[in-house]
Each structure stands twice: as structure tokens, then as C-alpha cells.
Amino acid sequence: MHMADALISPVIGGTMWVATAGVAAYSIKKIQDDLEEKKVPLMGVMGAFVFASQMINFSIPGTGSSGHLGGGLILAAMLGPYAGFLAMASILLIQALFFGDGGLLAYGCNVFNLGFYTCFITYPLIYERFVKKGISAKRIMAGSMIAAIVGLQLGAFSVVLETFFSGKTELPFSTFVLMMQPIHLAIGIVEGLVTAAVLTFVWKARPELIEKQISGKISGNASIKRIIYGLAIAAVVIGGGLSWFASSNPDGLEWSMEKTAGTAELADSGGIYGILADIQSKTAFLPDYSFKNDGSVSEEQVSETSAEVAWPAVDAGTTVSGLLGGAMTLVLAVMIGFFIRYVKRRKKKVTA
């Protein structure tokens, strides 16, 4: 299943959105440059096809269970990596909007997890390596299997990383990994088998469709590709991971301030400074690069102390008020809803 908004933080969601948008923009440019615009109807219809075939139940004999198709690899094999990525992006957008399957903020994460790894990493680096020397049923099978398995493992690991760095669940990293990777290994095997079966069939029936994609696809502006990969991955790593290690030691300016004036920050001298400082402290959404109440999951001590301070549980009085207020809010919300409906009904009666 796709990632939901509830599991990510704005930082992670935003970072992945940027990464996805970058890759999408690059894909669009490549398609326009190669004059493959006539592919747009093909992309659309193939996208719809993969959407529909994701609902097919591929039963695995002997186990009584069944698997489903992701589709990234088939799209990449039939349309090429760029068009395949965009087709996957549209499928995921429609799923997010109409079915609530995958959040809108998490859309960037989902497209990256399900589209980028299969279309831009496993397809060119694994699948194409296998079939470059010539296509045969065996090569397609081997290429698809390994590409699907690796692609899904990468995607699953991404999900774990994104959830972990968002800090919205208590699941420890190792447990989550141990849960996700084996499940997606099984899913990957099924996807590889289905993809191999389909591509083999297509190759036997209409070989030109498969061969058209293979010729010279690994060429092209490899250096730009690597730059964009590098930037996207760096953005994720830096934004998510290295901020953990962001030093809490004073930076150069604060250090020299301490040495000269004795404090790390100048006290404001009233007047306009005071007013502006006031406004800033009220509007700063991320004071000191963390959210107002608790720190991120990595700053455990900070979150522990502020949890003890912010958590109203210790003070029974505020807890009761909190619960009372919460209940009132819910009641208010529902009442407003009914009030709106009542007003509308009255309006209809008057005009009708």
C-alpha cells in the first residue's frame, strides 16, 4: 500500500516532492527533446491499463495467496524510463485523489518509491543489462525477476526511511525493516514473474515493441542523469538524516558573540526591535529548526523534558480541561455542519 499523509512530516514530504518534481521535469524534457510527444496518448492509455491490471488477482498455486502488479517495470519496458515514470505518476495521482490511496503530501514519496527505483534504477541498470546482448525468454525472466525484486526492496526501504525520519510513529527502525523487506521480497518475486510472463508474451507476439525500447537507451546524457540522481539522493539524506547530527555547538557568530559580549545573542533594546522580535517569535513556525512542542525523534532528551513539561497529564486540572475542550470542539464541529445543512434546506424551501 502507498504511504499515507499521517505517517510523514512536512519536511520529508516536501523533500520528496522536490525530488519527484525534479525527476519528472527531467523526464518531460527528455520526452519533448526526443520528439516523443506522440507518445502521450500511448502513455495515457498504458497508464490506464496498468491501473486496471493492478486490480487483477494473480493467484500463486500451492500457497492460496495471491499477488498484485505494481507495474513500474512493465511501463518502463514498454514506454521507456521517462514516459514510464510519468505514467506511474499519473496513476498514483488518480489513486490518491479518487481512492485516498496514498496522501497528497506523501505523493512525492509514493511516486519516488514506486516509480523512480523501477524506472530509473533497476530498469536501466539491471533489466537492460540482461537484454542488451539479445532478447530471449530466459534473459527476460532473469532481468525482470532481479529488477523487480531489487526495485521493490529499494522502494520498501525508502518507505521505512521516510517513516522513520518523519518521526510520527514509535516503530523502531530495525523492526520496521524486518517487517517490510521480507514482505516486499515476496511481492517482488510475484511482480517479477508476472512482468516476465507478460513481456515474454509480448516479445513472442510483437517483438518490435520490446526491441524498439532497448536500442541505445543507456546512452544519452549520462552525466546529467547522475547529477540529478545525486542531487535528489543528497537532498533526502541531508534533509532527513544529517540534520540529526546538526551541531548544537554555537556557530561562528554565536561563539564570537559569547567571547565579546558575554551572551550568544544580543538582548533587544526595546522599541521596534522588541515588537519585531515579538512578531517573529509568534510566527516562527520552526523556531530553532524544530517544531514548537517537541523536537524530532532524534533529540530524545529534548523531547523527553519538553514532553514532561508540555504533557498535561501530570496536572490533572489541565487534562480535564483538555478533554472537555476536545469534546466541545467535536460537538461544535458537528453542530456547525448541521446548521449549514439547515440553512441550505430553508433556502431551498423559500426559492422552490
Partner: protein, 269 residues
């Protein structure tokens, strides 16, 4: 695999809801997109231990639901399908965070708070996406995306995917039904036909796509996508967005339910 019919029905329902004529439906699509994004951003930014402060965010979906006259049961039925997966991830929280918290006289693991937070957030965020599409519709949404400078190629391809989903779902479900009628004991489709069944569908799809392209080309398609005259963003739209944004920011910064609660308990005592 009864999924096919229910998915088609669901998309059709959302389509028809988007054609209604209410205050929310008449708003500019760009405004609705921006409001949804702001809402999602704020909901997701709540810390994982905050529940009470999160509750005011309920106002947005409730108000839009009633202003847009959306059928609550049918739209929220989607939630029931998604929630099990979120519950599956969240249910482990109480076991991993065993720090005990006293809430209103009961001692519970703090993990339950995180779990509740995830559930609430998922409720809010999924509903926000659903009401966006139910009040806007795919065409207007695509026009809104164009205004946000999303490349024409992607928007066009998105619209084509959307347009052909119903066609392809019907085609795929016909094939699957024919298969099931010939293999009644079989659950799902057997590996021996994975390649041929899906492969045949794929080939038919590609031929159809070629016909679609030729039909479009013959009618003058050159890659451009025309949305007709751009509607202007009116003062009413800006006021709508501004109003909601202020409310979201207020709810995020101030724990409104707590204040209401203090007010009430202050009045009582």
C-alpha cells in the same frame, strides 16, 4: 476482483458529485488546491503526541462536506478501505512506546496517544483529498494544475489516463470474467495464463492507443492542451482561502479545545 465494478462506481460517483452547483463547487480550482495543500501541511505538522490540539482541524472537512452537500456515507466509505493498513502500522505503537501516561484518571501507554494521532491525521488527510476531487472534478483540477505551471505534457497525460481508466477497467474486467467463467474453481488467475491473459490485454491496449492517437491527430492534435478561457480568481476565492488559512494557523498555534475547556471549567467552578 469485484474491485473493478466498485472502482468504476466510485469514480463515477466522484465525477457526478463534482458536477454539483454549490458555493464550494463554484470556487476557483486553484483556491481549492491551495486550501487543501495548506490544510494537509498543517495537519501533518502536528506533533505525534498532540490529539486535543488537532481536533479543530475537523472543522474544515465538516464545513466543506455540508456546504458542498456531499453524501457523507458514500464518500467516507473509501476511508473504511484504507484504514486497515494504517491501523496495521499504528497498532504496534502502544507496544513500542510503553511510557505510561495518566490521562483523565486512567493510566495508559503513550503509544495509544500516538496511535490515535495517526488515526485522526489519516482521517483528516484522506478526507481532504476526497473532498478536493468531489468539489472540483478532474477537468477543473487539471486546469488548476496548469495554472500552477505543471507542464502541459504531464497534465495532458494525466487527463488521458483518467479518461481511459473506465474503458480499460471494463475491458480488463471482461477478460477476467470470461476467464473466471471458464475456470470457476480457480481463485484469481493461474500462473499458466499470467503471460497470455495480461499480454493479450496489453497488445490490445497498445493498438487502441495507436487508434486514439490517430483519431486525435486527424482532429488537429499537436500536443497542445486548451482549457478554454481562464477564469479569474475573484475576491470571494481569496477570502475563502484567507479565511481557512488564518483558521489553520490559529488552530496550530493555539490549543483551541484546551481554551474552550478552561473556559467551561472556569465558568462551572
Amino acid at each position: 476482483m469485484a474491485d473493478f465494478t466498485s472502482s468504476l462506481y466510485n469514480m463515477r460517483l466522484m465525477d457526478e458529485l463534482a458536477c454539483k452547483d454549490t458555493f464550494v463547487h463554484k470556487l476557483h480550482p486553484l483556491i481549492k488546491i491551495l486550501t487543501t495543500i495548506a490544510y494537509l501541511f498543517v495537519v501533518v505538522s502536528y506533533d505525534r503526541h498532540e490529539i486535543i490540539g488537532l481536533l479543530p482541524m475537523l472543522f474544515y472537512p465538516v464545513v466543506v462536506f455540508f456546504l458542498a452537500e456531499l453524501p457523507i456515507k458514500q464518500v467516507l466509505a473509501r476511508l473504511l478501505l484504507i484504514e486497515p493498513f494504517i491501523i496495521a502500522i499504528g497498532i504496534l505503537n502502544p507496544f513500542f512506546d510503553s511510557q505510561v501516561i495518566i490521562v483523565g484518571g486512567f493510566a495508559i501507554s503513550r503509544g495509544w496517544i500516538t496511535f490515535a494521532s495517526i488515526l485522526l491525521k489519516s482521517l483528516f488527510t484522506i478526507t481532504a483529498a476526497l473532498i478536493l476531487i468531489c468539489t472540483t472534478g478532474m477537468d477543473k483540477l487539471a486546469a488548476g494544475l496548469r495554472m500552477l505551471k505543471v507542464p502541459r505534457l504531464f497534465v495532458l497525460q494525466l487527463l488521458l489516463t483518467y479518461r481511459y481508466i473506465s474503458v480499460l477497467i471494463e475491458e480488463v474486467s471482461r477478460s477476467i470474467r470470461a476467464y473466471k467463467l471458464r475456470a470457476p474453481q480457480q481463485k484469481g488467475i493461474h500462473p499458466s495464463v499470467w503471460g497470455t491473459l495480461v499480454g493479450q490485454l496489453l497488445l490490445r491496449t497498445i493498438d487502441r492507443a495507436e487508434r486514439v492517437y490517430q483519431a486525435m491527430f486527424v482532429r488537429g492534435f499537436t500536443g497542445e492542451y486548451y482549457t478554454g478561457a481562464d477564469t479569474w480568481v475573484t475576491l470571494r476565492d481569496v477570502a475563502y482561502f484567507g479565511g481557512w488559512l488564518s483558521f489553520f494557523i490559529l488552530a496550530r498555534m493555539v490549543n483551541i479545545p484546551l481554551m474552550i475547556g478552561l473556559l467551561i471549567s472556569g465558568v462551572i467552578s
